[in-house]
């Protein structure tokens, strides 16, 4: 699995900031961002469009010069030694990087050779990648004839052809159908599992961050507002919501159930008692036992696990689902 025994971070960002000048105005896209990424992690930037994810990524990939701060990526400073950084990273932009008139294999070969890989080797790697990413048989097709998923996989192949230890994927599954998305996730996991590649992705999809990432950096308005594993974030920020619908006196039930361990809040609404508690699974056991012992007329129970959207909501006051851009 992940090789997080290594002490040296593969990315170290300190005080990164970038301000764009658009028209006459200044737009602070990134306002002081600090974080570290360990080798072998799949780490995600989660946030709405406009949060500064792409800008931060472009700084880390040496495509943009930060207006403040510094970053050390794969052991080289992005400002002082961009060439060294470029040699050992891969980058797949949000809208891809292919010309519709090129053929898949020839672009892969050219790309490999741009990294200094000899032609024979490049041809072999292109064939290899086509197989790994389900692009077999498409090698000589012009890219404009590929489907959305195939084109995306071609973009990713182009970012991986030189086998970099660190690869950046900006919104990798935008525009893909559900099957292609889960296929893509499987490919990304295999990258890390088989090749020890560190994957840095950005996304505004909660399920992607939740299922794919080892750690998440939550970003909004140019700042990182929270950081941690998906589970830790969910546990720390929001409790589980348990709803108990009763046949009898709900207020008496409230009084009884208020003793619940780990309780944050309890409220009654009609015949339903709603509790927010940490460690909802354990609380539920206590609640059911207590309701039974106190002879409360329990009709039904519902437990809602917190989602990353709840996390985002708690942190920013707005929902990621309603506010993707």
């Amino acid at each position: 699995m992940s090789a997080s025994g290594a002490a040296v971070p593969i990315i170290e960002a300190t005080g990164l900031a970038h301000t764009f000048r658009v028209g006459g105005r200044q737009v602070e896209a990134v306002r002081g961002v600090d974080f570290e990424v360990r080798p072998g992690e799949i780490i995600g930037f989660l946030g709405p469009n406009g949060a500064g994810k792409t800008t931060t990524m472009r700084i880390l990939t040496t495509l943009l010069k930060p207006t403040a701060g510094r970053a050390v990526v794969v052991g080289a400073d992005v400002g002082a030694d961009p060439g060294a950084v470029r040699r050992r990273i891969g980058y797949v932009a949000q809208s891809g990087g292919t010309d519709g008139n090129c053929r898949v294999a020839e672009e892969l070969v050219t790309q490999a050779r741009l990294y200094g890989i000899a032609k024979q080797d490049a041809v072999r790697r292109a064939a290899d990648l086509c197989e790994r990413l389900d692009l077999t048989g498409l090698a000589d097709r012009p890219i404009r004839t590929l489907s959305g998923g195939q084109r995306r996989r071609t973009d990713i192949a182009l970012g991986l052809v030189h086998q970099p230890p660190l690869v950046f994927l900006d919104e990798p599954s935008v525009g893909l159908d559900p099957q292609s998305r889960s296929d893509l996730w499987a490919h990304i996991r295999r990258l890390r599992d088989d090749l020890d590649t560190t994957v840095f992705l950005s996304t505004h999809y909660l399920d992607e961050a939740d299922t794919l990432c080892d750690r998440i950096l939550v970003m909004n308005h140019g700042r990182i507002i929270a950081e941690g594993t998906p589970d830790a974030l969910k546990r720390r920020i929001s409790g589980d919501v348990i709803s108990l619908t009763l046949g009898g006196d709900a207020d008496r039930a409230k009084a009884v159930l208020a003793e619940c361990p780990g309780l944050d809040e309890i409220a009654v609404s009609g015949q339903t008692v709603r509790l927010t508690a940490r460690g909802g699974e354990q609380a539920l056991v206590w609640l059911l036992r207590t309701a039974d012992q106190a002879d409360l007329d329990l009709r039904s129970v519902n437990i809602a696990r917190p989602t990353l959207d709840d996390v985002f909501l708690a942190l920013t006051g707005s929902s990621l689902k309603e506010n993707p851009s």
Partner: protein, 255 residues
């Protein structure tokens, strides 16, 4: 990867893409032939009449350099449109993330535009020969050198400007606004010796005036004359400046 192999890699890619496009042979090769076919009959009449300043019977040696400049101004000068397309598709970003020198990204593209213009020059000279152009071989070879310098300069400039402007809607009008005065002031269709003094002075401020005079002298066989040397000097200096400007724009951190 060092500069020359990297540039050749980009050059090969760009050439492959051009050759694959069906528009290329049609527009690229017929264009020079059409210039001559439609202009030829008129030139012969004009030459026969012996217009003041225009040596009778030597019409072709007069007009061919102008047509080559015209090919340059409407070919390589517009090459920057391809970099705008590459910006839009993300291809340019993808190449910028690789360790390849930014100059190689420019040089490969410039080389492709130069090769295309040289091929067009060969076609134009061949068709002109069929129509009656007669010039010394050395003079004809010098045409290719002049054309190469023009192509390098205009292509580099165009690619650099394309990176700066980034939008076809602003880029094309900008280039048209520059190309047409440059064309008219360079003495392409009629000799500048006919011009009133104010027009002559304006013309002397543009590089193509000297380049065309140099090319014409070369076709007449006047190799030793100052016109050829000055024309060559201006062509090379323009190419060098444009290449330097293009290189700077390509090397920008936030291109």
């Amino acid at each position: 990867m060092s500069l020359i192999p990297a540039s050749l890699l980009i050059f090969t890619r760009q050439m492959r893409l051009s050759l694959r496009s069906p528009a290329w042979p049609i527009i690229g090769l017929f264009q020079p032939a059409l210039y001559l076919a439609f202009l030829g009959p008129l030139l012969v009449r004009v030459a026969g009449a012996g217009v003041d300043g225009l040596p009778a019977g030597a019409a072709w040696r007069f007009f061919v350099p102008g047509l080559l400049i015209q090919l340059g101004l409407f070919g390589p000068l517009f090459a920057g449109l391809s970099i705008i397309a590459d910006l839009r598709s993300g291809v340019f970003e993808r190449m910028r993330v690789t360790p390849v020198s930014r100059f190689a990204l420019l040089a490969g593209r410039v080389m492709r535009d130069t090769v295309v213009l040289l091929v067009q020059t060969a076609v134009l000279l061949a068709v002109a020969y069929a129509f009656g152009l007669r010039a010394p071989v050395a003079g004809l070879l010098l045409m290719f050198l002049f054309v190469a310098a023009i192509a390098v300069g205009l292509s580099a400039l165009s690619h650099g400007l394309g990176l700066l402007v980034r939008q076809e809607e602003s880029f094309t009008p900008l280039l048209n606004a520059a190309a047409i005065p440059l064309l008219l002031l360079s003495g392409v269709l009629l000799p500048m010796t006919l011009a009133p003094q104010w027009l002559d002075i304006l013309s002397r401020l543009t590089p193509f005036r000297y380049v065309i005079d140099g090319m014409r002298s070369a076709l007449y066989g006047d190799y030793g004359s100052s016109a050829v040397a000055v024309g060559a000097g201006v062509a090379l200096a323009t190419a060098a400046c444009c290449l330097a400007l293009g290189a700077r724009l390509f090397a920008r951190r936030n291109a």
